[in-house]
């Protein structure tokens, strides 16, 4: 018992997982959110529903399908195994894949409503001033989207930080590879090591609170842009 027995491995792994997941999600989520905000396509509602699925599905359901998908005989895991020699299930990459799917709505939805509230006007204005679409996106839309991106980043990060069910199903509980904080806490409670469980839980609680506090205070300072 004591601080010395507290393994920092799961903490570091969790931060890595959440950090990389958010980076993937911002890159992937931006075009999806942009498309959803601007399209008139009939596919839109379908895609919106798919993106929102992780919000309503029990994590175990998502985890179960992902396990099959990523496993040696899955559509994704199979070809991957053929290439790199091992499937994605029970690996860090597999966890990343799962987390990305699981946290997708938490990044896409704030970005989408951000793009919707900015609307078409700044784009058209920029175009009338000679800016191409890419140019307008980077010189006008992105700077006007700071709040949206901040919210998306924090929600995506925090949500990945706290996931349990999907991780357990897809990643298992392999120290240094897939054992993240939430699972470590579960383990400690299982073996009645309440002190460690307390430390990790309190740490996660405090960290989450501080991050949210930071976000809300930045959000308050950022100018609201009403076009």
């Amino acid at each position: 018992m004591g601080v010395s027995s507290l393994d920092v491995g799961p903490i570091w792994l969790t931060l890595q997982l959440a950090g990389i997941t958010v980076m993937i999600l911002l890159t992937l989520g931006t075009p999806i959110a942009w498309w959803l905000a601007h399209t008139n396509s009939k596919m839109r509602v379908g895609i919106e529903a798919v993106v929102a699925l992780p919000l309503v599905l029990p994590p175990t359901v998502l985890g179960f399908y992902l396990l099959i998908l990523l496993g040696p005989n899955g559509w994704v895991g199979g070809p991957i195994q053929a290439i790199i020699g091992s499937p994605l299930s029970f690996t860090f990459s597999g966890l990343l894949f799962a987390s990305t799917l699981y946290s997708l709505p938490f990044v896409v939805q704030p970005l989408q409503s951000n793009f919707e509230s900015i609307g078409n006007t700044p784009l058209e204005t920029a175009a009338s001033l000679g800016a191409s679409r890419w140019d307008a996106f980077f010189s006008v839309i992105l700077p006007l989207s700071r709040r949206g991106y901040l919210t998306a980043t924090v929600l995506g990060f925090a949500h990945t930080l706290g996931e349990f069910g999907v991780v357990l199903m897809v990643g298992g509980n392999i120290p240094g590879k897939t054992k993240v904080i939430s699972i470590e806490i579960y383990d400690r409670v299982e073996v009645m090591e309440y002190t460690q469980a307390h430390m990790l839980s309190a740490g996660l609680l405090l960290f989450s609170f501080l991050v949210l506090l930071l976000v809300y205070s930045i959000n308050k300072k950022l100018p609201v842009h009403v076009s």
């Binding site: 204005t125 920029a126 175009a127 009338s128 001033l129 700077p143 100018p223 842009h225 076009s227």
Partner: protein, 359 residues
């Protein structure tokens, strides 16, 4: 040879149609006038290339037809909107330079110093957008559009959101832009009083169709357009020339097509053009020349050109005084005077409004 703007657009939205075919001079200020829902903004969006439809040609260059569609950002057409649409994350100076930086070096004819001077923007440059008044915002927006050195400037009710005082602040700048920078302007509005002093060519839109277009003097006093222009403005817009000032009576004498008009003394030197607006309700008619004395100073000899439809108790008469003039009289007077087209009548003008064009 005057350069032309040729435009033919067909847009069909649920509940709204735009179907126009226009040839306008690519010079001076063209005002597109019409009630809301008449398609003014859609027309402007088509001209800007924001709606892809139909054909458009500007000063010999095809911007859009069946095969060609030059994207908005390469058209060199500037736009100023009702809301300034300035970029809130950029300072005034960065807003002004946004389009300038994206204009090819060899197309840059206007520079920050020139525009800053013409629009009096020098002192605003380091300000952030939310520290500007409504009038300042519109001036910056105008400057930003001009700094792309556009071949055509489109303005969509740029003064609608401003109070009367701010409007009178901006209007001279718009005139100055057209005169000093010789950029043709297409100006969309539903408020006639806003643009009386600006308009050279007028386009009247209704239900997505062009009702009439041409030089303002002709279009404005067309009795058939009475309904479109609106009662409060119906009448004639005339260009007169200042003859001399009579300081003893405090009046300025004007020449109008060889006849004379007197108005309260104006601060304009003789020989200059003064634009006046004569409301149709301020014009009475008489078939006899004035005998003896009358308190009415301004009497023009005219001919009846057209008699409008009888609607209610009054009727509009289009007169020819060298330029069209409009009178509204009662149906009873019409029958008393027994007016017919071609007949000579005397127009008694009770009030003349100055459309101040002085900068």
């Amino acid at each position: 040879m005057t350069e032309l703007l040729k435009a033919a657009f067909k847009v069909d939205y649920p509940g709204f149609k735009l179907d126009i075919d226009l040839q306008l001079p690519a010079s001076g200020i063209t005002v597109v006038f019409g009630p809301s829902g008449s398609g003014k903004t859609t027309l402007l969006r088509c001209l800007a290339g924001l709606e892809k439809s139909g054909k458009m040609e500007l000063a010999g260059q095809v911007l859009q037809d069946e095969n060609i569609s030059i994207p908005v950002n390469l058209r060199a057409i500037g736009m100023v909107f009702q809301e300034s649409r300035l970029f809130p994350h950029l300072k005034v100076r960065e807003n002004l330079l946004y389009g300038y930086k994206r204009t090819p070096l060899n197309s840059r004819r206007l520079h920050l110093e020139d525009i800053g001077r013409v629009l009096s923007l020098e002192k605003l440059q380091e300000r952030s957008i939310d520290k500007l008044s409504g009038g300042e915002k519109q001036r910056v927006a105008l400057g930003r559009a001009l700094l792309t050195s556009p071949k055509l400037l489109l303005m969509d009710e740029p003064l609608a959101a401003l109070d009367a005082q701010r409007k009178t602040e901006i209007i001279p700048f718009i005139r100055k832009v057209e005169k000093e920078l010789s950029i043709p302007i297409i100006y969309v509005t539903h408020s006639m009083s806003e643009v009386l002093q600006l308009v050279d060519t007028m386009v009247i839109l209704k239900d997505g169709k062009v009702v009439k277009y041409g030089p303002v003097g002709k279009v404005f006093s067309d009795i058939q357009l009475r309904e479109s222009i609106g009662d409060e403005h119906s009448g004639a817009v005339l260009n007169t020339r200042v003859l001399e000032h009579d300081t003893s009576y405090g009046i300025t004498r004007l020449d109008f097509m060889g006849q004379e008009l007197s108005v309260p003394i104006q601060d304009i030197s003789p020989g200059q053009v003064l634009r006046v607006h004569i409301h149709s309700k301020d014009v009475s008619l008489a078939t006899q020349p004035p005998e003896g004395l009358t308190s009415v100073l301004n009497i023009l000899k005219t001919k009846v050109k057209k008699i409008g439809e009888n609607i209610g108790y009054s009727v509009d008469i289009e007169l020819d005084a060298g330029r069209p003039l409009l009178a509204t009289i009662t149906r009873k007077s019409l029958s008393n005077l027994n007016l017919r087209p071609g007949q000579s009548v005397y127009a008694y003008i009770k009030a003349i409004r100055m459309v101040n064009e002085k900068l």
